[in-house]
Amino acid sequence: MAAGSLVLVRDGYLIAYAVTAKTRWAAAPDIPTIDEAGVPGLYASVWHGLWAPKGTPREVITRLNSAVQAALADATVRQRFADQGQDIPPREQQTPQALAAQQKAEIEKWWPIIKAANIKAE
């Protein structure tokens, strides 16, 4: 993502006004955050997560979570995620609780907007 779209900016086709995040984006740190650019709080992102089916035993979730945390701490994995324009959340957010909270907050934020705009599957 970073590579393809930054080429457009560098070639002079596009100007990048802001990224819709609280912090600057590692893949293009020269682009201001939305707060800096003058529209505080207009956050939107594509965030990835990992889920198991409901009812998966707690100890299995813990084992999977530890494996994911180990992967996200690995220098090679971090670099490869960064190459994809992906920011890795801080360690304290690499938990089932943080993912549940994120999912809940996003649903509360976006569902009313989607329903009001009547966005439906094509």
């Binding site: 939107a44 992102s45 999977l64 994911v68 996003e106 649903i107 976006w110």
Partner: protein, 221 residues
């Protein structure tokens, strides 16, 4: 159920400390066979790429093979639905994102619940939406862009890129927050896209088609 519990209790009393052993052993044995990560999009896309990077490391930690299965269609809901119905044993898991495990619940009629049918494991990564425009637009920064949009209500078009609704709803949210008004035009996701609705930059779409990952942007023209 009650009699089952009573029997368990009785057995536990009989066997003393060893009663918990078979259950603990089963948990410790996980994983004893390959794990499948269902990617609800085609191979080569951003979610698939992240899954493969993750899988390479996770299989070492878990000491088991990790299989990536691409089950695409219906905005990711086919693949996510497969995991919703899978046995809850940790051998089938779902990688997805803000749309598949969030927004799709409002966009699609789903045969599963994006929250209630899953156990969260971990957040993995985050990437923002960018707001970009043609270089020829007479606005040097976002404040000037907003001023320009206010002076020209309804005249601008924002192209949102990707199968995802996230850039599109960002465009709606942006208009609400800034008191601006422009139309939105959704384009297909690279690499499948051959047309784009942004005047003046269609020649550079070939660059986008080679991009390693999806580009989530809202572009004003």
């Amino acid at each position: 159920m009650a009699s089952y519990i009573a029997r368990r209790k009785f057995l536990a009393t009989l066997l003393g400390g060893a009663a918990g052993w078979p259950f603990t052993a089963r948990a410790q044995a996980y994983p004893s066979r390959p794990i499948t990560i269902v990617v609800p999009f085609p191979a080569g896309g951003p979610t698939d790429t992240l899954a493969r990077i993750l899988a390479e490391h996770v299989r070492i930690s878990l000491g088991q093979s990790v299989i990536i299965e691409n089950v695409s269609g219906a905005g990711g809901s086919i693949g996510v639905g497969r995991v919703a119905r899978a046995a809850p044993d940790g051998y089938t898991v779902s990688i997805g994102h803000s749309q598949t495990h969030g927004l799709n619940g409002a966009i699609y009629q789903l045969p599963y619940d994006v929250v209630k049918d899953f156990e969260p494991v971990s957040l993995l990564a985050d990437t923002p939406i960018w707001i970009v425009a043609r270089k020829t637009l007479p606005a040097k920064d976002l404040r000037e862009l907003i001023a320009w949009l206010k002076e020209n209500p309804g005249k601008a078009t924002a192209g949102t890129v990707g199968v995802l609704a996230i850039p599109e709803i960002t465009g709606i949210y942006f208009q609400k927050k800034t008191g601006t008004s422009f139309s939105l035009c959704r384009t297909a996701a690279p690499p499948r896209s051959t047309k784009i609705c942004w005047p003046g930059i269609s020649t550079s779409i070939s660059v986008w088609r080679r991009a390693p990952s999806c580009l989530c942007a809202m572009a004003i023209s």
